[in-house]
Symmetry: C2
Subunit: 200 residues, 2 copies
């Protein structure tokens, strides 16, 4: 295949996760999501829960707030905030994983982290809010928070995190080779199209 | 077909124009680009050159600058600036064209103007600058201005125009159902994919 690595960025509830997984299965290559969290946990000592939340959803935190909350004792993090330290390790882990061979990597700014390679296909999956709201309720059940609010919060955090670490706008077409509305295109068609281009 | 109207927005030199035209031919439906300019010219009395330039590339102009350049005599434009008047007629013409039946409309914020219809497929075509630079030199020849500068100027004006009249960011994946890198996907594959979804 001319592309060895696929990165899939996605709006919450758009089906990007299952599309990425099915593409990996069809191509017979590994799929990295939770595995990246585990690798980062080993390197940093951070809990998997902290990594899951902070490796895609970092909120706006000022150095000022950090200085007070951590009492200025950076330890092994070499003077970096926990979030900058996490970003450094996340980059290292993603670069290492990509070095190992063909694979699919979901989220975590992998499109940006791997920008210097020329064998990476970057895909963004999105869909209208009504479709995604129904999908997350079917998949994850109801919570106290209305599904539209859950979507907006997750998307907003992913967007902030991407902007903060890459200085680019999350979801801009130009960051990806394909941006697909999974509701309109259909999840199966998204899978087939991506597989087709990866094999080209 | 479940979609009657296709709108194609595109980066300059990305091949969006020829992709849109071929889709229209394959579907046997009309393709509107120059025809929209002619209709606007009849309604407004503006020259086709002014319309071509201003219906996609409006530059930032302050009301202050307008007041001085037009001496405050709005005439038939009902107190609107020429650019706001052009936008009003452009919206009217695009809504009328879409009412007539299935068609392909290129650029001119048609995705936004037709946002209240549910039978419109919105596509954005883009590509890396090197590919587009080679393409515009092959298609339109060299000029005094370097091709990369020509691309950047056109894209920047299209982006400003879109933002000014729609309050949205030109090129954001969520504004379109499909955003395709024509260099990576291939022009023919873009055509086939769009035709396939239009027919779905």
């Amino acid at each position: 295949m001319s592309y060895n690595i696929l990165t899939v960025s996605r709006e919450f509830g758009s089906g990007g996760h299952s599309i990425a997984k099915e593409v990996a299965e069809k191509l017979g290559i590994p799929y990295y999501d939770r595995e990246i969290v585990d690798k980062i946990a080993v390197e940093t000592g951070f809990s998997p829960e902290f990594i899951v939340e902070e490796s895609e959803y970092a909120k706006s935190r000022s150095i000022f707030a950090y200085a007070f909350s951590f009492k200025g004792t950076p330890g092994v993090m070499g003077g970096l905030s926990p979030w900058d330290y996490l970003w450094t390790v996340q980059k290292k882990v993603i670069l290492e994983v990509a070095e190992k061979g063909p694979c699919v990597i979901i989220g975590r700014c992998a499109d940006y982290i791997l920008k210097d390679r020329d064998d990476v296909l970057n895909v963004f999956i999105h869909a209208d809010k009504e479709y995604r709201a129904q999908r997350i309720v079917a998949l994850y059940g109801e919570t106290d928070k209305p599904p539209l609010k859950r979507l907006e919060e997750k998307d907003s955090k992913r967007g902030y995190h991407y902007r903060h670490f890459t200085d680019k706008i999350w979801g801009m077409s130009q960051n990806y080779h394909l941006s697909l509305d999974s509701h309109v295109v259909g999840e199966q068609k998204c899978v087939d199209l991506i597989v087709d281009i990866m094999k080209k």
